[in-house]
Amino acid sequence: MNHPCVITLDKKSPPRTLFSGDKLVKVDLPAGTRVIYPKPPLAGLKDPDAAIRYAINHPHGSPPLYAKLKPGMKVTIAVDDISVCLPPMKRPDVRQRVLEIVLEQMRDHGVDDVHIIIATSFHRRMREWELRNMLGDKIVDAYWPKKLYNHDAEDPAGMKYVGTTELGEPVVLNRRAVESDLIIYVNLNLVPMDGGHKSVTVGLCGYDSLKPHHNPHVMRKCHSYMDPPKSALNTVVERMGKITDAALDVFTIETTINNRMFDKPLGFLSKKEEDYTMAERAALDAMIYTLDRTPSHLRQEIFQRVPAPYELTGVWAGKTEHVHPHTLKKCFEQYSVPATGQADIVVAGVPYISPYNINAYLNPLLVQVMVEGYLHNLYRGAPVVKKGGTVIAFHPCSDRFDPDQHAPYIEFVHRVLPETRDAMVMHKKYEEEFSKNPSYIELYRKGHAYHPVHPFYMWYWGEAGRQHRGRVILVGPDNEYVPKLLGYETAKTFADALEMAKDTHGRNPAITCMHVPPIGMVDMTPTGSSATSTSSNAALAAHGGEA
């Protein structure tokens, strides 16, 4: 019996609507193709503020927040940055709701020494207007910029050693947080790889504490990032997080949201194409027509400036290790779709947005991270694509970067990638040089650029996917040389790409389309027959009943 989010196309099925950057394309997939859709959004909590109050007053593994507060104490509140959620949510953001309640408790208990730090780690600094969207005008007016600011991992005086794991991994965190009597972490858990010990131990750390897990050796051993017990990255972070927890008093507040990414006019993009109404079909055609004729910069503005109507689905508070299992359970409840039988070919659209390009263009390196980092890792059990399988993805892959946010990416793509695509080589030969580039460090600290080693992390992020898959064929790129730098083949049309893939997988390959966004993930059970490169959709049906 198929999960309702898994359908198999027949000859009469309408084309699928996939993203190709900031455009939409209709793709005629062959009969027999399995399409996996995200689950429908879970119902949002009816009274989010009441749920937040209940959570901090009934925490897990910790006294309630009010019982930890004493007049005159020093408190640091760390908050997840703009990398979650995608796109940014409608006001009020969940983090604003949580902060307003937490700050009210602070005031009630005579706690005045409060700093709010955006836990950016090596991400870019958030701008004031972005903070206003995320935290609301009241908080920004009261705290920005002296008591509300971005973490700076390169401030020599701003970091403090906390401890070292038994394997020699140093935990060095934001000094203000370390020297506080209490750290409160306000998390927005978009996907299962977020939250837990990652919040404080990664969000507030510096380079020395990122090196033990943000490297190609560890990334290769993540199967997948979204399955914490199978993620070597998570294992290292948890080990380091225990050092943090032993040394510091951390009160974690974790929240989950549903996957209602598109507001009403675009809501049909979350539906199965079979279920489109006549009006929605007309709206889609009009949208494709308009987007095709709209200048690229305007398209970007249209998509990036439309906030998502996400709703709060859960909130838990207390000791990190007691809280996080509840969060993960809710995340999987929203995202996990069971399926059986890996595919020879996975087809997916690459949208205009990733965690690392809010209010910027999705540059080629981020296209790579979407294909091999995120799309590949949206699984538990086994990857959707077989070992050596082919990924067919849609994106223009333009040679275009946001020079303010992604300055070091430009050099990475045009200087490092022409030399090597081997993550181990770039890790040894180039990472240190970039990490010391004073211009890029200045842009990270004072401008709005990602840290100079962030492009390396983006490449490492794709490492597990790269080791697993065979070919990546990009459909519809506007140039040949950038995909080539990424190691991708190109095709003008999906039909061409499919013919190319059939050279590897035979005339009747098992094809799965991952219909994201919105976000969904697959609990994949591999079958014996689908382990061969010539397995067909008929074989998939025989073993998994989905064809």
């Binding site: 050099e411 580039n437 211009s439 200045e442 004072k446």
Partner: protein, 222 residues
């Protein structure tokens, strides 16, 4: 070891060559002398404006002609005060951090400036630069002639000066960094492997974007 080459005026400090010159013109031995020099400068203004537009080297030469007749003693004695009153308050907030960052990464920090050497030297001491390459006045009988000793540090000449400096110190220009706010310094930016522009005007910013050079702000306004 790489070097970081910094233009100074407009890059690390918000003043330009006119500011210390104005200080010296005003601070003459007597009000009469000061007025005479200011009047001479006022007459030279159109020439300065034209040469600034046309040729950076010509601008420097025209500007330093205003120093003709000033005694070496007066220039040097007033240098501390000129630095404290004009240059030091004008250091951009981010300049100290950027230079410190370069030093921390083991770079040889070199200030390459059209300003006068005895002023740039004071800034170098303050910010921790290793070397300065700056304009030097010619003196005869302990009085400025109003001419500059070669090489005149301006525009395209900076590129050659940097090349010579790198060669004499065994540095690879591909590994080196350069920072400037001025379109006239594009040759200097172009000879190093890691150029960056600092609060550029529109023309330089367009060029930087086209070349995908980093654009920095040290004025704390980003």
């Amino acid at each position: 070891m790489p070097a970081s080459y910094f233009d100074v005026d407009g890059t690390l400090i918000r003043t330009n060559l006119l500011h210390p010159t104005a200080f010296y013109l005003i601070n003459q031995g007597s009000p009469t002398k000061a007025l005479a020099r200011i009047a001479k400068a006022a007459f030279s203004a159109p020439v300065l404006a034209f040469s600034e537009w046309r040729d950076r080297r010509a601008f420097n030469e025209s500007l330093y002609a205003l120093y003709e007749g000033m005694t070496e003693d007066r220039l040097f004695v007033l240098a501390d005060e000129a630095y404290e009153k004009v240059l030091e308050p004008a250091i951009y907030p981010g300049a100290r951090d950027l230079v410190a960052q370069c030093k921390a990464q083991g770079h040889r920090v070199v200030f390459v400036s059209g300003s006068l050497d005895f002023l740039v030297k004071r800034l170098a001491n303050e910010l921790g630069a290793d070397d300065i390459i700056a304009n030097r006045l010619e003196f005869r009988s302990r009085k400025a002639t109003g001419k500059l000793l070669p090489p005149v540090v301006a525009g395209p000449a900076k590129a050659k000066i940097i090349r010579d400096h790198a060669r004499s110190h065994g540095l690879q220009l591909d590994d080196c960094f350069a920072y400037s706010d001025s379109l006239s310094d594009v040759p200097m930016l172009s000879v190093v492997g890691h150029p960056a522009v600092v609060h550029p005007d529109a023309a330089l910013e367009r060029l930087a974007r086209a070349n995908q050079w980093p654009v920095l702000r040290l004025d704390g306004l980003s």
